[in-house]
Homo-oligomer: 140 residues x 2
DNA sequence: GCTTGCTCCTCTAGTCGCTAGAGGAATTAG
DNA sequence: CTAATTCCTCTAGCGACTAGAGGAGCAAGC
């Protein structure tokens, strides 16, 4: 069984060394076995698992979700409804965030469009910030 | 001069009490004067300033930007170019975030669309997460 | 005057997902 | 054998709060 050190795992999975230790501490990676000199050793399964984690993080899944996805991935006979549900929740979350940001975008654009590059005294941006009533959004 | 307590300021500006203290500590609000019993007292100007801060936060400006905007708002004769620049930077930031989220959204949607509700063994979601090569995005 | 209950005070720690740095030990290359 | 590199643990920091402990001040009702 060939084993690799944490730096090599870091390179193979494109995850920084301290992040790997952080994932171990958070229980996403099993506690690594150690050499005599107390250094962590890893194998091919760890590379796969860490790549899975990294990819899920890139897609914006949070650590709790990833923990659940990893657990599920280890039970290949179970129906994938739970996996689906996690992804669906995440999609809904992303949609929410896009919607909120799109609203903000419209506000900021509108402020900028109204600003006529004069003095701060008559700057619409400052006025809108100062007086909520002047503003487009109503969500409070 | 009528003064109000922190709880009343909290209600009038819709900002929670600990958050007001936090803003004071971060220098967005001046250090409040105190009663004999060491309680903070506020006036109308504080209500206006805090509402400005809250509104800017709702629009997603970060505290450093708000600090700058508050400074600028106090110099009404200056040209509003700097105000504009801050808002413009913020707009660009929001656009970035929307773009990234839109990319993620497409990924997640595509995974979900490919999942045929079978077992985890053949779940496309798990497969895509496990193998980066299967994935749409290329940004790494 | 006294108690009850609310508001306020300070201080610390927790959230999320890392990242950075200190200070030291182990390994590897030359 | 030494120098460079990699690794170890531990602590603290980011942003913008939020939550809670433990205690003091204050207004209203009896």
């Amino acid at each position: 069984m060939k084993t690799i050190a944490i730096g090599e795992l870091s390179r193979q999975a494109s995850v920084k060394v301290p992040t790997i230790r952080f994932y171990e501490e958070r229980g996403l990676l099993p506690r690594a076995s150690r050499t005599e000199g107390n250094r962590r050793t890893y194998g091919a399964a760890d590379v796969r698992r860490l790549r899975f984690i990294r990819h899920a993080r890139e897609l914006g899944f949070e650590i709790e979700d990833i923990r659940a996805l990893l657990d599920l991935a280890e039970q290949p006979e179970r129906p994938c409804g739970e996996v689906d549900a996690i992804a669906r929740r995440h999609l809904a979350d992303i949609d929410d965030r896009i919607a909120r940001l799109t609203g903000l975008r419209a506000e900021i654009r509108s402020m900028l469009d109204q600003c006529s590059q004069g003095r701060i005294r008559e700057c619409r941006i400052v006025e809108v910030l100062a007086d909520h009533g002047e503003c487009l959004h109503e969500e409070h």
